[in-house]
């Protein structure tokens, strides 16, 4: 059975190559307007990302909602076609792969979705859902498939007897386990976890995160763990990338990032994490972003003049908050981003 492959090559051995390497990744969603549906601009959801993910590690990707985290994850898995840049998976550029060659890459990289309800087809039984990847990638014997499905259910902590149930008969946490089982079905090396616990009850979040950690240890998986919950990321990630408006503003080791954040945006994010200690919590200062001067919808119109305007607007992102946070000119951001992003 593949789920308990003791170790994979590279899972334990020190690795020189990163498993995934992203170079200058761009993803722009075109924006159309008018009856003629002319393209008037683009949402630059992912705007020049460069980073590595080492084999066996968990890279956390944090940032507020709408900054492009999901889009990054989906582009890495080629669910979207990158507008530019390279995605190297074990050294092979998959950004341009098409058709059958892309399909053959798919088993290597899988995804766990944010909304376990929406990501399971309500009209299929759990057995059919988990068997689908097996069918698509050539496990043709029904008997072998059934056995594998039961093993997978068992591996994610579900009763294998429930193969004939429908997703709505399960709780949120159980549904997420089904999603995890499906992602594991093809023995992937790399899994993008797109806020896998955001839709779950707090009491269940830890269980799912621990399951993910156990599976990682057992199967030598590599994760890109997307979240806006910094405390969870602190718990699971080895390194953390902080994303803001389609760019990575800071990428550092998890300990460094939490103890000595460099970028003002990272500090702002960290300042928003509640501390489980009443005295500390009371004296905690929040650095807040003022809504009025918030730098934008990440839409940039093609007119050249709009770019400086956007930059001008973004210079006073961080106003002094009432509690007395420092104001830091955002103009210095790119410099920090370069320093940290260069790795």
């Amino acid at each position: 059975m593949a789920v308990d492959l003791a170790t994979r090559p590279g899972a334990s051995s020190p690795e020189t190559h990163p498993l995934v390497r992203v170079e200058d990744l761009l993803l722009h969603f075109p924006v159309y307007k008018g009856i003629l549906r002319r393209q008037v601009g683009a949402v630059r959801a992912v705007d020049g990302l460069t980073f590595d993910i080492r084999r066996g590690e968990t890279l956390g990707l944090v940032g507020e909602s709408g900054c492009g985290k999901s889009t990054t994850g989906r582009t890495l898995l080629r669910l979207y076609r990158a507008s530019g840049g390279r995605i190297l998976f074990e050294g092979q550029d998959i950004a341009e792969l098409e058709g059958e060659r892309l399909r053959r890459m798919r088993p290597r990289m899988q995804m766990i979705f944010q909304d376990p309800q929406a990501s399971l087809n309500p009209r299929m039984t759990v057995g059919a859902i988990i068997a689908e990847p097996l069918i698509e990638h050539g496990v043709h014997k029904a008997e072998a498939r059934r056995a594998k499905v039961r093993e997978l259910l068992d591996a994610v902590g579900l009763n294998p007897d429930y193969v004939n149930r429908y997703p709505h008969e399960f709780s949120g946490g159980q549904r997420q386990r089904i999603g995890i089982a499906r992602a594991l079905a093809l023995d992937p090396d790399f899994i993008v976890c797109d806020e896998p616990i955001a839709a779950l009850d707090v009491s269940i979040q830890a269980q799912v995160v621990n399951l993910l950690k156990d599976l990682q240890k057992k199967l030598g998986l590599t994760y890109l763990f997307i979240s806006h919950d910094l405390s969870m990321v602190k718990h699971i990630a080895d390194r953390v990338a902080v994303m803001y408006l389609g760019k990575i503003v800071e990428l550092a080791d998890v300990r460094t990032l939490f103890s000595a954040p460099k970028h003002p945006y990272t500090k702002a994010l960290l300042s928003a994490v509640p501390v489980p200690d009443p005295t500390v919590e009371a004296s905690r200062r929040r650095i807040s972003c003022s809504r009025a001067t918030y730098p934008i919808p990440p839409i940039r119109l093609p007119a050249a003049s709009s770019a400086p305007a956007a930059r001008r607007r973004s210079t006073d992102v961080f106003r002094k908050s009432r509690s007395g946070g420092r104001s830091i000119p955002a103009a210095t951001w790119p410099a920090i981003a370069c320093k940290e992003g260069g790795l």
């Binding site: 929406a118 399971l120 009209r123 990847p133 579900l158 007897d161 004939n164 709505h168 159980q174």
Partner: protein, 311 residues
């Protein structure tokens, strides 16, 4: 609540933990039986179908037999639905008319459903085809249908008659004409449903698995747009029966010695004052059929949805 405890399926308290293979058909059937309206509809519709098929063997009067002396009679044992102005037995005519109306209705509905669903799914799923197919749909919607029907029938009636004989020829023509002029609503509704289903995460999940497009459509999209298709289907039979009636009325449907429900209805309209039963019976037959089919559709739609199935 602990995450590891699995709740028993609703509706079957204390059910044993089954591993028995669940088949879709069995599940759907089990749930359909729970739907009172659906079951009633099915019983009525089946009775109508059986009556129409086997009735003429029991009620052996020839629907075309003239008997002017017995014209415009009321209900009696020999003529359960009375007679018309030429003394023909109404019951025999309604039974004979039902055969034609039902087969036209069902076949035309299937054709229109096939065309509408195909166009709707392709337009909704493949963005490149969308513009063209929807303009085509708009074009058909904008066409003045009646003149179009007239022209088509005028052009092809004789050719088809020559090729398939008068009855089969006109049957094919009418089914075809109704089918290709009534798929547009289905196409639009299905396209809309596909557009919303295809944005759901389980479709993205299927893509990330590497599921082929064809199978994404058949396994993920189609089953999730079944409800609107079922609704279209039931409405489709009704419209088809009614369109056929209108055509018969205009003298473009089946020949006059070939009764259909619509034809009987329209023939009866002129005599409504003298003999109201001439419109009541065919009208009742049409309404009962359409209504029962609607209820069946309702029950099927619920039975096909596993989220409702448990209730």
């Amino acid at each position: 609540m602990s995450d590891a405890v699995i709740k028993p399926p609703q509706g079957t308290p204390g059910a044993p933990l089954v591993t028995r293979q669940r088949t879709l058909a069995a599940d759907v059937w089990r749930q359909f039986r729970q739907h009172r309206g659906g079951v009633l509809g099915a019983v009525v519709f089946l009775s109508i179908v059986l009556l129409v098929i086997f009735g003429p063997y029991i009620h052996g009067i020839d629907p075309q037999a003239l008997n002017v002396r017995d014209k415009n009679q009321g209900i009696s044992l020999t003529h359960p639905m009375g007679t018309d102005n030429l003394g023909r037995d109404m019951f025999a005519q309604v039974l004979a008319g039902g055969r034609t109306s039902l087969s036209v209705g069902i076949t035309a509905m299937l054709l229109s459903l096939l065309v509408g669903t195909t166009i709707g799914v392709v337009a909704g799923y493949f963005r490149r085809a969308d513009g063209l197919l929807m303009r085509l749909t708009d074009l058909f919607l904008a066409l003045p249908l009646l003149p179009l029907l007239l022209v088509i029938i005028m052009l092809f009636r004789d050719t088809l008659r020559a090729a398939f004989g008068p009855e089969t020829g006109i049957f094919l023509l009418i089914v075809f004409v109704i089918g290709i002029t009534s798929w547009m609503q289905t196409a639009r509704i299905v396209r809309g449903a596909v557009l919303s289903v295809k944005e759901q995460e389980f479709v993205v999940a299927a893509k990330s698995i590497g599921t082929r497009e064809r199978r994404i459509v058949t396994r993920h999209i189609l089953p999730n747009v079944l409800s609107p298709i079922m609704v279209s289907a039931t409405l489709g039979i009704a419209t088809a029966i009614i369109t056929e009636s209108a055509l018969s009325f205009l003298g473009l449907g089946f020949p006059s010695d070939y009764p259909t429900w619509g034809r009987l209805l329209y023939d009866g309209v002129n005599f409504m004052a003298i003999n109201p039963s001439r419109v009541i019976w065919p009208g009742l037959a049409i309404s009962l059929t359409v209504l029962s089919i609607n209820y069946i559709g309702d029950g099927l739609r619920d039975a096909l949805d596993p989220r409702i199935r448990g209730r």
